[in-house]
Amino acid sequence: MASLDDLKKRISSVKSTQKITKAMKMVAASKLRRAQESAEKGRPYSDKMNNIILNLSNSITDKENSPKLLVGSGDDKVHLCIVMTSDRGLCGGFNTNIIKKAKLYFQKILDEGKILKIVTVGSKGYDQLKRIYKENIIEKISFKESKNVNYFDADKVGKIIISKFEKKEFDVCTIFYNQFKNVITQIPQEQQIIPLKTTESEANSSEDNYEFEPEEDEILNNLLPKNISTQIFKAMLENSASEQGSRMSAMDNATRNAGEMVDKLTIQYNRSRQAAITKELIEIISGAESL
């Protein structure tokens, strides 16, 4: 059995760990509020953008000559996957869930004999993927320096993707991120952004006739790159809210576990302290008796 001193040390070390996790939880909670707010504020933009693009793509009659970003390169050989993770750890299953989802998809693609290319956004994703998919990762992006999610960063990622597409480096592009549902639930998502997927039901709902200035395809050519940045920005916002939510619940758990551990150790400490006293007493009494 551990000595009294050892137990004391352990209790104080667990207590200080608990302090840290508690503080991290608080920080995550306040960051979560901000992240959630900006995710909500960003929604009108991406919704509007989606709407306009839907309207535009509906009014395009000449499907064959429409922009490549919309209809794809006509091939399905090279898949580019953008895996968006966090830059910091200690956030529960946040990164693992995305990676798991992504790995499933990777496996499917490789099984079909297609070529897989990966771009990781956020250093944690790179760390987890480099072991197996090292030769597939063509680029890793990290925004450790920027404190908040901003559009500028998203635009950078978007531009990288578009320039790769224009160089015909891939045919299909999918992004992986966590969608924020609430503090305990984040749903890993895969979303195909090139070629753009429009669901039928949405497409049918808009029947307005628009006037376009300049021509539809020219607008689309201008709009689609922006849409990609917007989608990535949206994913980044959702991701950052999810990350904070996930960290908050993870840290909450850790704090609770630490509390339990402190309780258990304290009981053990008191028991052994008492046992030692009793033992001493017995020794004294039996010593006195023998006199």
Binding site: K41, Y45, K48, I52, N55, D155, E213, I219, K226, S229
Partner: protein, 132 residues
């Protein structure tokens, strides 16, 4: 009959401006300035760098935009833009910085004509802003 319609300007970060009593908006559309009044036909267009003028009542507000998309539908004008600021409380040093950035962009070699046009437009507008 009122001559007012709704205006909504959104940037990726937030909803920048929302008004329901605008009488006229002038936007720097790609093919020239475009004034929009109530009951305009549904239209989608995109913007070049320039100044958005919003008239509501006796007020007149001016905003600088880098780029953007305008959509007018059912008497609601939506403007999506990635970079926008109010001209009244803009700071001069930021504008100077943007001019510098734009000028260095312009000096790059591999620009197509459209990009060149947009950036030179940007420089022009920003310069005129920094003057007054």
């Amino acid at each position: 009959m009122s001559e007012q319609f709704n205006l909504e300007i959104v940037s990726p970060e937030k909803s920048f401006l929302k008004k329901d009593d605008v009488t006229e908006v002038v936007v720097p559309a790609f093919e020239g300035e475009m004034g929009i009044l109530k009951d305009h036909i549904s239209i989608i267009s995109f913007l070049k760098p320039g100044i958005i003028k919003v008239l509501s009542g006796n007020e007149e507000e001016k905003f600088y935009v880098d780029d953007g998309i305008v959509e007018f539908k059912d008497n609601t004008l939506s403007i999506l833009t990635s970079n926008i600021f109010d001209i009244k409380n803009s700071d001069k040093t930021k504008i100077q910085e943007m001019i510098k950035q734009a000028e260095s962009d312009l000096s790059e070699q591999n620009l197509d004509d459209q990009k060149k046009f947009i950036i030179s437009q940007k420089v022009e507008v920003l310069k005129s802003l920094s003057l007054n």
